[in-house]
């Protein structure tokens, strides 16, 4: 049985291992021409890619936001619902435009894979809100920065919480 100090050490070790990955080192990053587009306005999403010879990127747009166009070759893109898949072949940049709805906010999320390097990861989420107005159901009130690291930290926090709780329970 793991003791409470061991639990804490494990949590610290997990945090130390994952924090750098969560904040840096991803070969694919996303920037937006604006995070607060006007109603019905198109804005540009740019993906910067480093050292992916053959791989892929899939982006998921918030509800109501629609893919408009891209400069990526037409035969290397597939759009299905809110998902846009790009085949990466030594590309260093992919840009696409998105048309905003009349209102609404949410996150653009993404995932990348390097098929040759056999590595993959998440692209930190980018928050968008029409005219900067949050819609409570989708935004949840979290800031974009917090949301970028939300996924791994949420998992870690959950693990840490469970372990600490288990450790305390054991002491009782």
């Amino acid at each position: 049985m793991i003791t409470l100090p061991a639990n804490r050490l494990l949590c610290i070790a997990l945090l130390l291992m994952v924090v750098p990955v969560a904040v840096s080192g991803a070969p694919v990053t996303r920037t937006l021409s604006t995070a607060e587009p006007g109603a019905g306005e198109a804005f540009t999403v740019s993906l910067s890619i480093e050292d992916v010879a053959l791989g892929g990127v899939v982006e998921t747009l918030p509800a109501g936001y629609a893919f408009a166009e891209t400069d990526h070759p037409a035969d290397r893109i597939l759009v299905r619902g809110q998902k846009i898949a790009f085949a990466v072949m030594n590309d260093t940049r992919i840009a696409y435009s998105v048309r905003a709805p009349a209102s609404g906010s949410g996150d653009i999320t993404g995932r990348w894979e390097d098929f040759i390097g056999e590595v993959d990861g998440a692209i930190p989420a980018s928050h968008v809100a029409v005219d900067g107005i949050e819609t409570a159901a989708e935004s949840g009130g979290a800031s974009p920065v917090a949301q970028e690291a939300a996924s791994p930290f949420a998992v870690l926090a959950a693990i840490a919480g469970i372990l600490i709780a288990a450790g305390r329970g054991g002491r009782r």
Partner: protein, 399 residues
């Protein structure tokens, strides 16, 4: 269902799945054995969007076939002369031949794709530290076939020209039970075939450039030795008594150690004979009066080599030889030319390092600029990629 049948059924299913997975290039939609750009891109997009026709390993294999094999199956001929068609890169590899394992590492193969090795490689904790985490499938003489099949390899490496009966048996059993498993056979210890084997294996794993670099390094050493020894008249060649691990057991013409002795410019008075490792009459050694004596160390990985920095052990081996009856009259003893060399650097993939030592011992003047120690260190650092400092670790030659 009979419970005793269940493990066998599971095993058969696993094998069947593996066999099926090995057929054809993933993503080759029209099945014409060519993965075109359009087919690859369509497969990649479908995978990314979530159409799960292909698993992650499938699309990774497709990408590698497209990138490194020009989208076509790769046909290779192994050292038995058999042509094998590869539709996918190596992903789950079992290796019974330690020299092939070492060569794969020289070529930069992802060792995480090696799922099991022979028991000898498994035991070499210093040289193959990563093997501790891999499965152990025994030896070619006593293979753990059940473990091999449970590990679901896509490729198995065996020897080509030694222990052929044992290797044939393993190959036959694999082909009978799991035709999807590719069996590749290489030696990787013979000077005559090693350069070609380096290039072939490099081609298999898509590391042709690295293969050329390593082959050039290997050939530069062996060519330097051959060139240096060329032109020495037969009657001026250094007379060498090469003693195998066991006392008074030497090597005949058919033994690999004899080949390396001759490449280094030596001549073996006991080369004639049918046995590979004949036992010689002690008197015959005195009569032959060798100019150089080479004693092989390293039996059972017990002494020296990569296992430990144990100069005293090699010194003891040498001292025992010097004290043999009548040896004080042998030229090699009188001239201080009795050397101990560890089989780690003469018997396997590293034979070029040991051969360089032989050449330098046989002809110090001709090979004054040859630096076997530096060659060895470069091999370990640049090609094997292990942190091993010859200045303070291991014992390979004495004195």
């Amino acid at each position: 269902m009979n419970r005793r049948c269940l493990p066998a059924l599971v095993l058969l299913l696993l094998v069947a799945v593996q066999a099926a997975a090995a057929e054809g290039i993933p993503g080759d939609a029209d099945g014409d054995r060519v993965l075109t750009r359009a087919e690859y891109v369509a497969a990649a997009l479908a995978y990314m969007i979530g159409d799960n026709d292909l698993a992650r390993a499938d699309i990774q294999d497709a990408a590698q076939v497209y990138a490194f094999w020009d989208g076509r199956p790769r046909e290779i001929t192994d050292s038995t002369g058999k042509t094998v068609t590869l539709y996918r890169p190596l992903r789950r590899v079992v290796i019974f031949a330690g020299e092939s394992l070492e060569t794969l590492r020289s070529l930069g193969f992802d060792m995480e794709k090696v799922v099991a090795v022979d028991k000898y490689s498994h035991a070499k904790n210093t040289f193959f530290p990563e093997c501790r985490e891999m499965g152990n499938v025994g030896s070619i003489w006593s293979p753990d076939m059940e473990r091999v099949l449970i590990l679901r390899p896509d490729t198995v490496f065996l020897y080509a020209t030694i222990s052929t009966a044992a290797c044939d048996d393993i190959q036959n059993r694999l082909e009978a039970s799991s035709p999807g498993i590719r069996v590749l056979r290489f030696d990787c210890f013979k000077p005559a075939t090693y350069p070609d084997e380096i290039r072939t294996i490099a081609s298999i794993i898509g590391k042709e450039e690295r293969g050329e670099e390593f082959a050039a390094f290997y050939e530069s050493t062996m060519d330097r030795i051959r060139d240096g020894a060329a032109g020495i008249p037969d009657d001026e060649r250094t007379r060498v008594y090469f003693e195998y691990w066991f006392d008074y057991t030497t090597v005949a013409a058919s033994a690999g150690y004899n080949e390396k002795t001759e490449i280094a410019g030596g001549t073996n008075p006991f080369a004639t004979g049918t046995a590979e490792y004949p036992v010689v009459d002690p008197e015959a050694i005195l009569v032959a009066n060798p100019e150089v004596v080479i004693k092989l160390a390293g039996q059972g990985l017990a002494v020296g080599g990569y296992a430990g920095h144990d100069i005293a052990a090699l010194d003891a081996i040498r001292s025992d030889m010097l004290g043999r009856p009548g040896w004080s009259g042998i030229s090699a003893v009188k001239d201080g030319r009795v050397y101990v060399i560890h089989s780690d650097i003469l018997g396997g993939a590293q034979h070029f390092i040991g051969t360089a030592y032989l050449a330098k011992w046989f002809y110090p003047d001709r090979f004054a600029d040859l630096d076997p120690h530096a060659i060895h260190q470069r091999y370990l650092t640049d090609f094997q990629g292990i942190d091993f400092d010859l200045a303070s670790e291991g014992t390979f030659v004495y004195p």
